[in-house]
């Protein structure tokens, strides 16, 4: 099992506040890693450190290393990094443009102008995001006319269009109904064949269903990280057990 990313002694925060404390963990290639933990434990900050979105916030700082294919991401160009490491946020956030333009946006930024090439990328990305069959006859319609679940899948298609290697997802189904959530979960399981996925979730059952590995964060520390079945059947740390069984606090 290859490690796509390696996080080494990662500490991060804002001003005087330390949000992440000395986190070290590996993200295996073509696996789904779920990040769980109570609100304020540093989950979102953690994933935002993996594509350097954390540093764009005023007062944010970071120490330690994040390696992507053994290369320190903080030594490379952040724009190029974000092409390789895509992000899908909690609320679907399509641009107020057509479905087609949403997906073609990234490739166009990367300099692809050829209509045929763009058409192909849009179709393939929408297919990978399991949205093509629902929208192929209305690609020029405004993306905001789609349902919440479809908008989220469009955001995933948009992330896939720039051919990333890692996809980060920050609570991607928390604003969706169970049917739309189930479709996204199926999609995530399908995506891991080609990509490495890191997903933050508050939903324990979701973590159990889709994660190959699960990491439990508490007060900025990585408390336990292991195979999902082990974490949910037989956690090693009492704090993990208290959290996942709902007896935390």
């Amino acid at each position: 099992m290859n490690n796509k990313m390696q996080i080494l002694n990662l500490t991060a925060g804002f001003g005087d506040t330390k949000v992440l404390k000395n986190v070290t963990m590996d993200i295996p290639e073509n696996k789904v890693v779920t990040i769980i933990g109570p609100s304020g434990c540093g989950k979102s900050t953690f994933v935002r450190c993996l594509d350097r979105l954390h540093e764009v916030i005023r007062g944010a700082w970071i120490k330690g290393k994040v390696l992507l294919d053994d290369s320190d991401i903080y030594m490379d160009d952040p724009i190029e990094l974000r092409r390789r490491v895509g992000m899908v946020f909690q609320m679907p956030n399509p641009f107020p443009k057509s479905i087609y333009d949403n997906v073609a946006f990234g490739p166009k930024l990367n300099g692809i102008r050829n209509k045929k090439s763009l058409d192909k990328i849009v179709e393939e990305s929408l297919k990978k995001a399991a949205l093509w069959n629902g929208v192929n006859d209305r690609l020029k319609k405004n993306a905001l006319s789609l349902s919440g679940g479809q908008q989220q899948r469009l955001c995933i298609a948009r992330a896939l269009a720039v051919e990333p290697e890692v996809i980060l997802m920050d609570e991607p189904t928390s604003s969706l109904d169970p049917v739309a959530s189930a479709k996204i979960e199926d999609l995530i399981l399908d995506l891991k064949k080609r990509y490495t996925v890191v997903i933050v979730t508050h939903n324990m059952q979701q973590a159990a269903r889709i994660g190959d590995f699960t990491a439990f964060f508490l007060l900025g520390k990585l408390i336990e990280y292991g195979e999902t079945a082990q974490i949910f059947e037989n956690p090693k740390d009492k704090k993990t057990e208290d959290y996942i069984t709902g007896r935390f606090g």
């Binding site: 324990m204 949910f232 059947e233 993990t240 057990e241 996942i244 069984t245 709902g246």
Partner: protein, 217 residues
């Protein structure tokens, strides 16, 4: 208390399993006692206990399914649920075996024993001690002493071998006694099997409490 409904549900399952365990002990004691005293009324009582054990086991089965569907237990709660499903089945199975002994009592009725019943009641006594160890562990959510359970199970196995050899020699000496001897042999065999189940129950409790697998032969 966090997750009050889950805690209450788990406690109910725990209490019901302990109730089933106590009933199981009563069934074993009464089945052997009824045989020893050829007490038909007591043997019939054992059959009533077996019926009750079916009902309690079914209740536990339904409660565990409902709590799994509604509360999605994980980690120690999930191990608890899985253990209770198996342990309540174990107790119910022991009650079935006690009922089989009660049937032999009814068959025996006025007949004289080939020999005084000494080792069979001893086996029953040791079994109740094993079930006590299991029940105490379930009640306190602590691991039972596996060594003690193995030691007692070995004692039961030795008593069974002793009874087996003795009864075979009766059969060889007097083939007319084969029918009676076989009945007693079945009683001893049922008790030996019950000892195994009581020991394995202990291993299931260890997994429930510690998440660690221990194997008892």
């Amino acid at each position: 208390m966090a997750r009050k409904a889950l805690e209450e549900g788990l406690n109910e399952i725990r209490n019901n399993t302990i109730k089933l365990g106590e009933l199981t002990k009563e069934a074993i004691i009464k089945s052997v006692e009824s045989l020893k005293n050829r007490d038909i009324a007591m043997a019939e009582e054992v059959m009533g206990l077996e019926e009750k054990s079916d009902i309690i086991n079914l209740e536990i089965d339904e409660d565990t399914l409902r709590i799994t569907a509604l509360q999605q237990p994980v980690a120690k709660d999930l191990r608890f649920i899985s253990a209770m499903i198996k342990i309540s089945d174990n107790f119910e199975r022991i009650c079935d075996l006690a009922e089989k002994i009660a049937h032999i009592t009814i068959k025996y009725k006025e007949k004289k024993f080939l020999k005084p019943l000494i080792d069979i009641p001893r086996m029953a006594l040791v079994i109740t001690e094993m079930i006590d160890i299991d029940l105490e562990a379930i009640e306190n959510n602590t691991s039972p002493s596996v060594d003690k359970l193995i030691e007692k199970d070995d004692l039961i196995d030795n008593l069974y071998i002793q009874i087996y050899n003795e009864l075979i020699s009766f059969m060889i000496r007097d083939p007319k006694k084969i029918d009676d001897a076989t009945d007693l042999l079945f009683v001893a065999r049922h008790l030996e099997r019950i000892g195994d189940i009581a020991a394995k129950t202990g291993a299931q409790i260890v997994y429930m409490v510690e998440g660690k697998r221990v194997w008892i032969k």
